[in-house]
């Protein structure tokens, strides 16, 4: 199988999970599309360096997660430079089947959302999440605990009100 065919197969298999991850991290369709396209561009440029024995999924996930985290900074730069457009950033619309949770997730930091999405949305262990994001296991646990504390508080307040 040639490189291009293997890449196409990997994208068709893992594309939905990668795009979903970008949606969960950025909270915005426009930013997620941008991050997804950029991640695939980077992945294709480095595709030849992926060892045949290595699994493509975590490798692609790592590129996509890191690209999505960086996209916020790039977006702000782009908006300042080009036009004054506020892109929709609203997880309560994207997770419309649980809008309260979406609203609470929206208030987390980008990195906290990345940890939550990889762990709960994609089933990676906390150590694996650390390797994917390039941070230590302790830092992942710290992000996760803070995020969960915040979500519990927000969702409890929501229930009370």
């Amino acid at each position: 199988m040639d490189l291009e065919t293997a890449f196409e197969l990997a994208v068709s298999e893992y594309g939905p999970a990668l795009y979903g991850l970008a949606l969960a991290i950025t909270g915005s369709v426009a930013d997620a599309e941008d991050a997804y396209q950029t991640a695939l561009e980077q992945a294709w440029q480095r595709w030849g360096s992926l060892r045949a024995s290595a699994s493509a999924r975590p490798w692609l996930t790592k590129i996509c997660a890191r690209t999505a985290i960086r996209s916020k900074r790039r977006r702000l730069h782009w908006i300042t430079r080009q036009v004054d457009v506020e892109r929709a950033s609203n997880l309560s619309l994207l997770i419309h089947w649980d809008p309260d949770l979406g609203l609470a997730l929206d208030q987390l930091t980008t990195r906290q959302r990345a940890v939550i999405s990889l762990h709960y949305g994609q089933g990676y262990s906390l150590d694996e999440v650390g390797r994917l994001l390039g941070i230590s296991g302790g830092t992942v646990r710290s992000h996760l605990n803070r995020a969960l504390d915040h979500l519990r508080k927000e969702l409890t307040d929501e229930t009370r009100s």
Binding site: S28, V29, A30, L40, L94, I95, Y120
Partner: protein, 162 residues
């Protein structure tokens, strides 16, 4: 029963990870820089704004309990029409506004004005829904629809003018 937070995060995020990705840019393959990025980004921003406006106008932002099931996969919901019949001879029935209400377990999931004899498509989670119509000048029936994952179940609501 209230789900604990771990379970709630899983059931809410896992469906998001099955989202349909956008078509890839042709330039991905050739590794060339995409020169039209600002134009595409501007169009995307407008598309997002239009989508958000559509969602708001269609009443989907109303905080009502979602239907049965917690993970609506893409392309799942109901599709059909409200048919007006009867009335005085020569009545213009097509296109008249009728209120369509979709409920599940006694809770209203969607309620909106629709034009009669026009195809209505509403995305919903899998489950059983009661679909009814309401019009001040007509008696409207109701129907129960079973929505399965990955399908749009068809419905028809008949309203007879008094």
């Amino acid at each position: 029963m209230k789900l604990d937070l771990d379970e709630r995060l899983k059931t809410s995020l896992e469906p998001l990870m099955q989202s349909t990705p956008p078509l890839r840019r042709a330039e991905v393959r050739s590794s060339r820089r995409y020169r039209w990025q600002p134009v595409v980004a501007a169009i995307s921003a407008l598309a997002v704004a239009a989508t958000v406006a559509t969602i708001i106008l269609s009443g989907r932002l109303v905080r009502e309990p979602p239907g049965p099931g917690t993970s609506p996969p893409p392309a799942t919901g109901v599709m059909g029409e409200v048919v007006l019949s009867g009335g005085p001879p020569g009545s213009q029935l097509q296109g008249q506004q009728v209120r369509l209400t979709i409920s599940a377990g006694g809770h209203t999931v969607v309620s909106r004005e629709v034009a009669s004899s026009r195809l209505v498509k509403v995305p919903l989670s899998p489950g059983t829904y009661e679909i009814s119509g309401a019009d001040g000048n007509a008696y409207c029936g109701a129907s129960s629809v079973q929505v399965k994952a990955g399908e749009f179940a068809s419905f028809e609501v008949i309203c007879s003018l008094r």
